[in-house]
Symmetry: C3
Amino acid sequence: MKKSLIALAVLTASGISFAQSSVTLFGVVDLGYTQSKTGAAKTSSMTDSGQASSRIGFRGVEDLGGGLKASFWLEAGTNPDNGTGDATNNNNQSASAVTAPRAGTQGLTFNRRSTVSLEGSFGEVRLGRDYTPQFWNHTFFDPFGTNGSGSNVTGAAYGDARNFTGVRASNSVGYLSPKFSGLQVQLQTYMGEVASPAAKAGNGTALRVTYDAGPLSLAVADSKTTTGAGTDWKATNFAASYNLGVAKVMMMSSTDKITGEADMEGYLVGVTAPLGAGVVKFAMSNIKQGTTVDSDKTAIGYVYSLSKRTALYTTFATTKPMTGDKTTGFDLGVTHSF
Amino acid sequence: MKKSLIALAVLTASGISFAQSSVTLFGVVDLGYTQSKTGAAKTSSMTDSGQASSRIGFRGVEDLGGGLKASFWLEAGTNPDNGTGDATNNNNQSASAVTAPRAGTQGLTFNRRSTVSLEGSFGEVRLGRDYTPQFWNHTFFDPFGTNGSGSNVTGAAYGDARNFTGVRASNSVGYLSPKFSGLQVQLQTYMGEVASPAAKAGNGTALRVTYDAGPLSLAVADSKTTTGAGTDWKATNFAASYNLGVAKVMMMSSTDKITGEADMEGYLVGVTAPLGAGVVKFAMSNIKQGTTVDSDKTAIGYVYSLSKRTALYTTFATTKPMTGDKTTGFDLGVTHSF
Amino acid sequence: MKKSLIALAVLTASGISFAQSSVTLFGVVDLGYTQSKTGAAKTSSMTDSGQASSRIGFRGVEDLGGGLKASFWLEAGTNPDNGTGDATNNNNQSASAVTAPRAGTQGLTFNRRSTVSLEGSFGEVRLGRDYTPQFWNHTFFDPFGTNGSGSNVTGAAYGDARNFTGVRASNSVGYLSPKFSGLQVQLQTYMGEVASPAAKAGNGTALRVTYDAGPLSLAVADSKTTTGAGTDWKATNFAASYNLGVAKVMMMSSTDKITGEADMEGYLVGVTAPLGAGVVKFAMSNIKQGTTVDSDKTAIGYVYSLSKRTALYTTFATTKPMTGDKTTGFDLGVTHSF
């Protein structure tokens, strides 16, 4: 994603100069057509994030000298099919019982990320609303990046309505280490807000360790989020990818332990391969929970790049649940980033 | 409206260069005083879009090479009198019964336009939330641009609470042809969301053809929007303008056919003339529906330009309904665009 | 607060030039840890504006020639701990009974300021939503700027739920005079919206006069806001500061007269002093209303500047109400402006 640099223009009588510091305006507009079929039921709609999540954001870095930097990142999810923004979540728990906003009224929030950081040779300390360590492996090692009809079904765990820290957490303090010989550590702790402070609901901690060495990437994440008095959600996952040049192969495996439920077990195997001016994507994923859930998904897609910032894409996917009709999904769209 | 170009600054060690591509931040802040009188009832208020719609937006164009371009447009309506944003509409139908947002809480949405386009010698294909072809003639051929106390009464049709695609439609796919000898064609199809998919409520198609030759402009638009099972709203209109140099004269005529109702018939005649550093505007319009509605409106205004971006304006208008007291409206304000 | 200048780049074939006019993107991200204790009750949370109010804004100035300028200012409050925006208030009165927005859904509004101005040798005429003259002395003469745990308790008056024009007013027309020998006058009148137009609820007028002479600053403000039929809120305050070089001392005194209630009397004495790369702050404040309210607050803090745009801060404060346990507050955070 190419970003638009808004230079910090320092206008002086003698000329134009640019400071080291900069503010960047960036975003994605992704729109397309989606068709979904389950048995005889068929729905068609315009979709707004079939290949990459539509968004608009502002971020910047300030050089403090002595190797120290300060930075901020404010990023809002958008739905350009109808102009709405995305709600955020302040308590890292399920939405409260208060009436949902009327359709079409949800304004822009910096739901995707709103952070301030201090960075130096020691790494980065980041405060605010941010992605959780336990989410990254679900999306980075998915050829479809958890977007559109091809998004992997291990999402049944991170996308679960009860698991609001499966993707992002509010009120977080994070630490990202520098890379030592390809090894990097990410730590995060977060707090819920408002609801059930005594039960510490919405509080949690997470860890992710990654290792990169040439074509090889390994990543492991572990987390625990309190969901109520004496109950919690433990998400653990492991992922690996290897770039063969002609293609990149990847796998991911996840376990979600929820108090009082059977474990959720998910896995994904995928491959991306350059083809012409684009990339072919293929993925198979599965999610299982005890004897009640067992879903298989197969997805194939092609992203044709018109430039580094603009691409056309199409995806076809089939999901087969344990019982009942399979669901097929089809996307055709355009992604434009700025 | 002059726009602020945010250049895509590419900072290199050797100097400053600008790519062909650019992101533009733009907007309008329009604020003034409005007085309205109907019989003995008189209200005074601050108004936020008396001459031009207050807004803030981000748009950009990317040159893909070979005559192809990609572009995006995200534009949010604002109410600077109190700081709120405007809601959008995702289903191209009336607002649902869910509680309206509390006054003062409506956040910014990209309700005015949120689109991505691919453009080339073939024309432009545009996806997202956009203006409808059936709206343009109502506003382009109104000296007051459907803003403020002078806005024409044919708006009784496009502003009708049941006619949510009278101005804009969500989930639209549009095509704008290149100009051939002054002739241009705009096609659009759009889909509602959520409510009544079986009834196809909120789905529609529209066409607009324009012809420009020197001082002459002609435009015709036709559309049909499904409003429910077996019911629809057909909006058709025609407009013309001629620039005599000393003044520009214009007319517009519209017919709205709604299932189960008498037709709505509207017309407008108007003139704009340069005067000093500004423009005088005059318009007469009428809307009629069967034997129950017959309103006449006369409006006169002056816009005094302080620059290309900033103007002072005043408008005085009188609306005479079929029965009851006439209403007079008066605006005095300032428009600043960036 | 350093601002990011987005130059109005005028790209021409022959080179790059910058107009006199400019649009500025600016903001603050302030995040930290807050602990509050009252008796045995203790709460910990992430706070989003402990030293400066988190925000994002867009503002610009256009040179109209002849000493005349047009400008706009759109500024949205943000809560980067969870990504939400802040609601605004359109009627200058208490929030209506309509259901509050669901937690996490409040989108960005330009609640902090949304104005357009014309400026010249005559001063500045400003329209829209803006700060009230009666608020400035409460914040400018508070070492803690009415932010965080150290914010003065005279805020019991301006922060009162019934006093929505204590900080800002919608639908305002303001006039700011030029400075004559250090003397400046600010006048403002504002109107409520929607609720109780007959009672003129939410309408008001305010005046502020300031005098600056070298190290000395004096300021007095007076205002009256109609709160309903025959009832009003009169806020008056006076403040002074003197910069001794080694330290700046300041005081503020406020009286709020509310129809049918005992007067609210508040005062503050404070000092700020440069220390190392930062500033030490100390303040004592008191609020009293008849025989029922009498609160004392003492606050001490330190702001350590990493740069002009970035600082670390800590505050410790104790509030002692007339009866019951005292409350202690502690903040530790980082402020980054752009």
